[in-house]
């Protein structure tokens, strides 16, 4: 069964990353273990895709899996660019947290995929979003780090530049996700924007990061307020991702595929 494989993946990745943490001074081994652990999750996603005969992107649990895959990948890329060990291991920890949630809340692995989701837009729309979320989550980690430094130490300017770059990448993907969604909706349902609760919250998230970008552009030397905006924007992102299903407006959403019978 699919689940017995999942616990294997969880254990293997955790162990590999634990080794990476223990050997964090050995540059080559650390990178190797992290990449192997990430590849494990990637292999499981591929396995799931084949088994389910559809892209595993429909339910919250399935998107968490992708998130758990992209976060360490982005952590690694950022590490190669900026050489922050803490960033790398934060992203690994966050990824394990998502794998853990998936293990604690198993879902039905169902092959069914409703006709509305059977579209060439489906995979790019969701993958681009998950990519955006992973970048923006990474940027908010940087923001928390920056706020800590601001209040208790002196703020490293490099931290701010890293936050900016992550937000730029994340925002670019978020915009593409929204725009792909709009084009797909026009092809599938006849209108690009129907103020569905998920759309509404995605727009709020987009506006939040828009404020951050403009603030940084206007006041590149003022850090505190920008960092708070960035931390707050992530809260909205989480509402958009998980919280929407619990809001009174959600009963009218077309995006709640996870409760399918």
């Amino acid at each position: 069964m699919i689940w017995s494989n999942f616990i294997l993946v969880l254990l293997t990745s955790s162990l590999l990353w634990l080794f990476a943490l223990l050997l964090y001074k050995k540059e080559f081994l650390k990178r190797l273990f992290i990449i192997l652990g990430t590849a494990c999750i990637g292999a499981f996603i591929a396995f799931l895709w084949v088994k389910l005969e559809r892209p595993p992107l429909r339910t919250l649990g399935e998107t968490r899996l992708w998130y758990a895959f992209f976060l360490p990948a982005i952590g690694m890329i950022t590490y190669l660019r900026w050489r922050f060990n803490w960033m790398l291991f934060y992203s690994l920890g966050l990824s394990l947290l998502f794998l853990g949630i998936n293990y604690m809340h198993p879902e039905n692995f169902s092959k069914t995929l409703m006709p509305a989701l059977q579209s060439p837009w489906f995979v790019p729309h969701v993958v681009v979003y998950i990519f955006a979320y992973a970048f923006l989550a990474a940027s908010s980690l940087v923001a928390v780090r920056g706020l800590y430094q601001h209040y208790y130490k002196t703020l490293d300017k490099k931290v701010m530049l890293m936050a900016d770059n992550l937000v730029y990448l994340g925002f670019a993907f978020l915009s593409l996700g929204l725009l792909f969604g709009a084009l797909w909706a026009k092809e599938a349902w006849g209108h690009y924007w129907t103020w569905d609760p998920k759309e509404t919250w995605a727009l709020i998230t987009w506006l939040g990061y828009l404020i951050y970008i403009h603030r940084r552009y206007h006041m590149p030397t003022v850090f505190k307020s920008s960092l708070w905006i960035l931390a707050l924007a992530f809260v909205i992102l989480l509402v958009c991702w998980f919280g929407v299903n619990y809001l009174p407006s959600a009963q009218f959403s077309v995006h709640t595929y996870s409760q399918a019978p």
Binding site: A172, A188, H214, R215
Partner: protein
């Protein structure tokens, strides 16, 4: 650090911007409270005339007043940030409260919070944003510098999307059509069930549905609710399947997608209303073996479950649709005929209308002879698409370029 300047002294900054934005929001709510709610939208040609006037005025005021302090303020980042913040608040309210008309007349309805996109404050903030965004874009476009192309693309793109999407919303028609097999239909209806004559007729030749196989599930006898002590709680039926479902071992001995009951068993049958059925063998945790037939039934055949014990029964779920499509013929007033297949996610354009496969009679399931289509006319769509593609280019530029190196050593 700069010295704090008194409020309302030029150049205006964040304090003034936020006061003005919230001021406009208050005026908007004042209007919403006092003026009667008329669900009127601009339609052609008034929207086109007003839109053109607005655009021309925007360009004129940009070139006439580009050196003034007002222009500098209107195209400033503080005003942008304050307006986007106010808009965010409105959209957050929209994201929490259901956006549906309500017969009640409380505070929510009086302030238009349940119909946000048509309320004065929302429209006023958007209009102001459109002015600010337009002036900023004009400022970066004239004089044009090549290094600004990403900026110009993304900002003009967004401006076009809001402008064309907002003005065009009155001209957008989204109607539904119910077509029945071997019948001709030329009437469509809207949300309020008002009928319209279409400039084309549609004849449904055949409606087809492919379904996924039904699933096995255990339900509680008393409540009829799905029993979900363990996941997976539902497993798709396949020929020869053997699986663990909750505390039972289930084996499929026979399975027919189309069948009917005769005597003590089901036989393969391709009748109108034939339903899926399976013969199962169930072994409980106490090693008791049960055998029996289950079926999800159809609109004219009963469903059948297998009682496992006093508390639980094994059932077959109603199959979910995998694909549904309509073979149709379009007939236009000039007498031309066109055969097409309509499918979800694959609309067809005829005579300026886009036709979408929407739904069918779900009580009849795969025996439905009714296909529900959506017909859409959106003359402003090409302009919105232009904006969307410009924004995409802007996003790719942003991804590629990243944050430009900024001089953070000013202080």
């Amino acid at each position: 650090m700069s010295i704090k300047k008194p409020i309302w002294q030029q150049p205006w900054g964040y304090a003034e911007s936020f006061i003005i934005s919230f001021g406009i929001l208050s005026i908007g709510y004042g209007l919403e409270w006092m003026l009667p709610k008329t669900p009127s939208t601009l339609i052609f040609p008034i929207n086109l005339i007003l839109g053109s006037c607005f655009f021309i005025l925007l360009i004129l005021s940009h070139f006439l007043f580009r050196k003034t302090k007002t222009h500098a303020f209107l195209s400033s980042i503080p005003l942008t940030i304050s307006l986007v913040s106010v808009l965010s608040i409105l959209v957050i309210i929209m994201g929490i409260l259901p956006q549906i008309p309500s017969p009640q007349n409380g505070l929510v309805q009086k302030l238009g919070l349940n119909q946000m996109t048509g309320s004065y404050p929302f429209l006023m903030i958007n209009l102001l944003l459109l002015i600010v965004l337009g002036l900023v874009s004009l400022k970066k476009t004239f004089p044009f510098k090549l290094k600004n192309w990403g900026f110009v693309c993304s900002h003009w793109g967004l401006w076009i999307v809001i402008f064309a999407g907002g003005l065009g919303s009155g001209d957008l028609r989204r109607l539904k059509m119910d077509v029945f097999e071997n019948k001709m239909e030329w009437r469509s209806y809207d949300d309020q069930n008002r009928f319209y004559e279409m400039p084309l007729a549609i004849k449904l030749k055949d409606f087809k549905i492919d379904e996924f196989n039904p699933k096995l599930a255990v339900v509680e006898n008393e409540s009829g609710e799905l029993y979900e002590a363990q996941k997976p709680s539902m497993i798709m039926i396949e020929k020869g399947l053997a699986c663990d479902l909750q505390s039972w071992k289930v084996e499929i001995e026979e399975f027919y997608v189309n069948s009917g009951r005769a005597g003590d068993r089901y036989y393969k049958l391709s009748d109108f209303g034939a339903a899926p059925a399976a013969k199962v063998q169930v072994v409980s945790s106490q090693n008791d073996t049960l055998r029996g037939w289950i079926s999800c039934g159809s609109f004219n055949r009963p469903h059948e479950s297998l009682k496992l014990d006093d508390n639980f029964s094994l059932v077959m779920t109603v199959p979910e649709p995998k694909r549904f499509s309509s073979d149709v013929t379009f007939i236009t007033p000039d007498g031309k005929k066109r055969d097409e297949v309509l499918e979800v996610n694959k609309p067809v354009s005829v005579n300026g209308w886009k036709i979408y496969q929407l739904s069918y009679d779900d009580k009849m399931g795969r025996y439905s002879d009714k296909s529900i289509l959506e017909v859409v006319r959106d003359p402003w769509q090409p302009y919105v698409y232009l904006g969307i593609f410009m924004m995409m280019i802007g996003a790719i530029y942003m991804f590629w370029k990243g944050r430009e190196k900024i001089n953070t050593d000013v202080s």
